[in-house]
């Protein structure tokens, strides 16, 4: 298939359809409303269902019901709406139901603003709802990567029977880029023998549930989830490295911020500073091994985020004190410029000059 020019939010919708998703339940919120708007006409065109729910709470529970029947289903929102969905996300994780959740982040806390932000990293990767659970969290940095990761997200969700979250920001959702959606796929190849479809001649009943009143049984369930999560941590990390091989300063950044830092690195290289970018594509599982490999020559790591410093904690955890970790962040919907990041790099180079 050839490339088409598309807005990020709409590309999420089209990528979902190309991945065989025919069901969407959502609620309008800026800056992601183009996605439900797109699917409201596009899904019926391919025989699917688009339903605008009365609330985020209802939407995620519709997803829970749909996922329980073994179909590919998606919902989307932006930060405050994702907070409302946390109850349902915890239940989806507990009941081991696959689905894809989209968060096009805006600034917070509270009503916050409607401009791009990355301040939901903790919520996405550390469990925004209650209980011991994880989400597979994917962070695209281009419209093309949206298309690739939507497909990947559905596959991972189906494979591991758990919700996956695509974490973008308002900038990614709103910008237009050429995109190739590739070949169409579906969730058919995955086993759905567990789904509630009516017994249809089965001896046993299928039950979708997250309640285990006996502590021994709940512990066994928790352990089963843990085993799955450990497997994912081993198998599914993804990251991009940009000029890190000889880099003395490695910038760790994800999503749109990583693109800005790449521009900063190009500028730094022209001034003779050996800088590079490490971009986690999976935020959970966090690519710890890859980060350590990318920082073999580094003297310092600079984490850049549109937050007060969230992913930086995972960077520190991954490096285990091996390298100093600096942080630069813009918040409230303010987007760092490449020049700002370059300035930070220069300041850091000055500070660590002796080591370099």
């Amino acid at each position: 298939m050839s490339k088409v020019l598309m807005k990020g939010n709409e590309a999420i919708g089209e990528a979902a359809i190309k991945a065989g998703c025919r069901y969407f339940f959502g609620y309008p919120i800026t800056p992601q409303s183009e996605l439900p708007e797109y699917l409201s006409w596009r899904l019926p065109e391919v025989g699917g269902v688009f339903l605008q729910a009365e609330s985020e709470v209802a939407a995620i529970n519709m997803v829970y019901g749909a996922a329980a029947t073994g179909v590919r289903v998606m919902t989307s929102s932006s930060s405050p709406g994702i907070s409302l969905k946390q109850e349902g996300i915890s239940y989806l994780a507990g009941a081991e139901l696959p689905c894809l959740i989209i968060n096009i982040m805006r600034g917070g806390p509270g009503l916050g603003g409607i401009q791009p932000s990355q301040s939901d990293y903790f919520q996405a990767t550390k469990g925004g709802g209650h209980g011991d659970y994880r989400l597979i969290v994917l962070a695209p940095a281009s419209v093309q990567e949206i298309a690739d990761l939507v497909k990947k997200g559905f596959d991972l969700a189906d494979h591991y029977r758990m919700p996956a979250l695509l974490l973008g920001d308002g900038m990614l959702g709103q910008m237009m880029e050429p995109v190739d959606f590739g070949t169409e796929t579906s969730g058919d190849k995955f086993d759905h023998a567990w789904a509630t479809t009516g017994k249809q001649g089965r001896e046993h009943t299928n039950i979708i549930n997250s309640l285990y009143l006996k502590p021994e049984e709940l512990e066994a369930h928790n352990r089963r989830l843990e085993k799955k999560y450990l497997e994912i941590m081993k198998q599914e990390t993804m990251a991009e490295q940009y000029l890190t091989e000889d880099a003395e300063v490695v910038i760790a950044a994800y999503g749109m911020t990583a693109r800005i830092t790449k521009a900063a690195v190009d500028m730094a290289r022209r001034e003779g500073i050996k800088a590079g970018v490490f971009r986690p594509i999976t935020l959970w599982p966090f690519p710890q091994r890859e980060l350590n490999e990318a920082t073999q020559k580094a003297q310092v790591v600079l984490t850049v985020e549109m937050s007060l410093g969230q992913m930086v904690e995972d960077v520190q955890l991954a490096l285990k004190g091996r390298l100093p970790v600096e942080f630069y962040g813009r918040v409230g919907g303010m987007v760092p410029t490449a020049e700002e990041v370059l300035n930070e790099v220069k300041k850091i180079v000055k500070r660590y000059q002796e080591a370099m």
Partner: protein, 248 residues
């Protein structure tokens, strides 16, 4: 010898955990009997609530989904929209449906979702140990209204059927009781009617069943029956609030 009474096929051979004098057992049985009579067992998906009926999946011999508190109508919507060929019902108590789940039930009804709802109203939170519900009668003592419910403090009990009857999306609404055999039979008839509405693709149907909670009402099962008959029906009148004929 002819068998005149047996366990409905759609009930598993599991003993109910319900308290003596509780009506959930009767209502479960009625639902199962209707599922059998309409030959729905193989295509039914039951959505269970949080509350005393939370373990319904241990009892109903059909595919079951356990929903979060109050969210059963949204879950049922997701199921029915993806699998319109299945038969989908929710089974919810008054804390679940009339308090934490008011948004979900009202909007499922307003959309005319083609689902059936069994709403069991016993005017109290049973599972959590007898706290005040939105349906608790004025003056009724509960663990969170120890002096009796006062309107000045917590307002008035919610009449769900009357409220939903104003919605155009609703096809069938009836309030029944199970405090004596005559009303048990009437309840079964109402459940059957509601299920047939869905089978005909005619939209949203709800049966509210007034039921007793002797344990949390601190009453003997016999006195609890009197409370349903004399107090609850007085505030929650029985009858059909909306029917298919009326809608058509």
């Amino acid at each position: 010898m002819a068998v005149v009474f047996e366990r409905p096929k759609s009930l598993k051979e599991t003993k109910f955990h319900y308290c003596p004098g509780c009506h959930h057992g009767i209502i479960h049985r009625l639902v199962a009997e209707v599922i059998d009579e309409l030959k729905l067992q193989e295509k039914t998906i039951a959505i269970l609530p949080v509350g005393c009926a939370v373990l319904g999946y241990e009892y109903f011999d059909v595919d079951c989904i356990e929903a979060a508190h109050g969210r059963a109508p949204a879950v049922a919507t997701g199921v029915k929209r993806c699998r319109p060929e299945t038969f989908v019902f929710t089974y919810q108590g008054d804390g679940d449906l009339a308090s934490i789940g008011t948004a979900e039930i009202i909007h499922a009804a307003a959309r005319g979702e083609n689902i059936s709802v069994i709403y069991v109203n016993n005017a109290i939170y049973g599972m959590t140990g007898g706290q005040m519900a939105p349906t608790t009668l004025l003056g009724q003592k509960t663990t969170t209204s120890p002096q009796g419910r006062k309107a000045e403090l917590t307002g008035y009990p919610l009449r769900v059927c009357e409220m939903l009857a104003t919605l155009q999306g609703v096809t069938y609404l009836e309030r029944t009781s199970v405090h004596d055999p005559k009303h048990v039979r009437k309840t079964k008839k109402a459940i059957k009617e509601a299920f047939q509405v869905q089978l005909a693709g005619k939209g949203f149907a709800l049966v509210e069943v007034l039921s007793a909670c002797p344990t949390n009402w601190r009453m003997s099962p016999e006195r609890a029956l009197d409370f349903v008959k004399n107090q609850m029906i007085n505030y929650y009148p029985l009858g059909v609030f909306k029917s298919l004929e009326e809608v058509e």
